[in-house]
C-alpha cells in the first residue's frame, strides 16, 4: 500500500455528496451491520434504526482529524446513552454523557488508513432528507 509520505504535497478538496439511499444500501450489504439503517434529516439530525432499537442523533458540523481521528455524535436520549454504554464492547466506541465517540484510529478495518485520515484538515458535514454532504480539505504535508 502506498504510504502518505510517498505523496507529500498532495492536496484535494471539494464536496462529497452521499445519497442517503446509498448509505443504507452499503449498510444492508455489510454483513457485520445487517439490520442497521439510518434516516437523515435536516440540521445534521439522523435517526438510527437497528431492529427494534431507534435512536436520534446529531452529527458533528465540523471535524478535524489533524490531532485525533475521532468522530463524536450526540444522542438525543440520555436513557439510550446509558443503555448503549452498558452494551458496548468495542474498544473504539466510548460514551460520555450523550456523546458517542468513535476512535477511528482504533477501528481495525481502518488501521491501514490511519496516516491518511490525518490529512483531512477540515471537514464540514451537513444533512438533508436525501443527502449527507461532506465538504473537505485534504493535505499531505510537505
Amino acid at each position: 500500500m502506498i504510504s502518505a509520505s510517498q505523496l507529500q504535497g498532495t492536496t484535494a478538496g471539494g464536496t462529497l455528496n452521499i445519497a442517503a439511499s446509498a448509505v443504507n444500501d452499503l449498510l444492508r450489504l455489510s454483513r457485520s451491520e445487517a439490520g442497521l439503517s439510518v434516516d437523515f434529516e435536516p440540521q445534521n439530525q439522523a435517526r438510527i434504526r437497528y431492529g427494534v432499537f431507534h435512536a436520534r442523533i446529531t452529527l458533528p458540523r465540523t471535524i478535524d482529524f489533524r490531532t485525533q481521528s475521532r468522530i463524536t455524535v450526540t444522542l438525543a436520549s440520555t436513557v439510550i446513552a446509558w443503555s448503549l454504554k452498558a452494551m458496548l464492547t468495542q474498544p473504539f466506541l466510548s460514551v460520555a454523557g450523550r456523546d458517542v465517540t468513535v476512535d477511528l484510529d482504533a477501528v481495525p478495518a481502518l488501521q491501514p488508513f490511519r496516516e491518511w485520515l490525518r490529512g483531512f484538515t477540515a471537514i464540514e458535514v451537513a444533512t438533508s432528507k436525501t443527502t449527507l454532504a461532506v465538504v473537505f480539505t485534504f493535505q499531505v504535508p510537505e
Binding site: 502506498i2 510517498q6 505523496l7 507529500q8 504535497g9 498532495t10 492536496t11 484535494a12 478538496g13 471539494g14 464536496t15 462529497l16 455528496n17 452521499i18 445519497a19 439511499s21 446509498a22 444500501d25 452499503l26 450489504l29 443527502t131 454532504a133 485534504f138 499531505v140
Partner: protein, 81 residues
C-alpha cells in the same frame, strides 16, 4: 457489493450525485519507479483484479493535467459527478 457498484456506475453514480473534488496528487519519482518496476515484473495473473472496471470511472474526470518538477510528478485533477 460488486453488483451494487456496477449498477451505480451503469446509472451514472447516483449515490454520489453532486460530488465535486479538485486536487493535485504529488508523486515522488521513487514511488513512480517502484510502481513501474512492480508493473513490469508482474505477470498478468499476479496483477490484482480491481473490483470494478476503473476505466468506467474516467468519465467523471472533468479535468486532468500533468506537471513535472524536481523529483516528482504533479497530477492536477477535477472529478465531477
Amino acid at each position: 457489493m460488486r453488483e451494487w457498484m456496477e449498477a451505480q456506475l451503469a446509472a451514472g453514480l447516483p449515490a454520489l450525485a453532486g460530488t465535486s473534488i479538485t486536487g493535485t496528487v504529488a508523486v515522488k519519482q521513487e514511488l513512480l519507479n517502484d510502481l513501474l518496476k512492480d508493473y513490469l515484473s508482474a505477470t498478468p495473473a499476479a496483477s490484482p483484479a480491481l473490483p470494478i472496471d476503473a476505466r468506467s470511472l474516467l468519465r467523471y474526470v472533468t479535468h486532468a493535467a500533468i506537471r513535472a518538477e524536481h523529483g516528482r510528478v504533479l497530477v492536477d485533477f477535477q472529478v465531477t459527478v
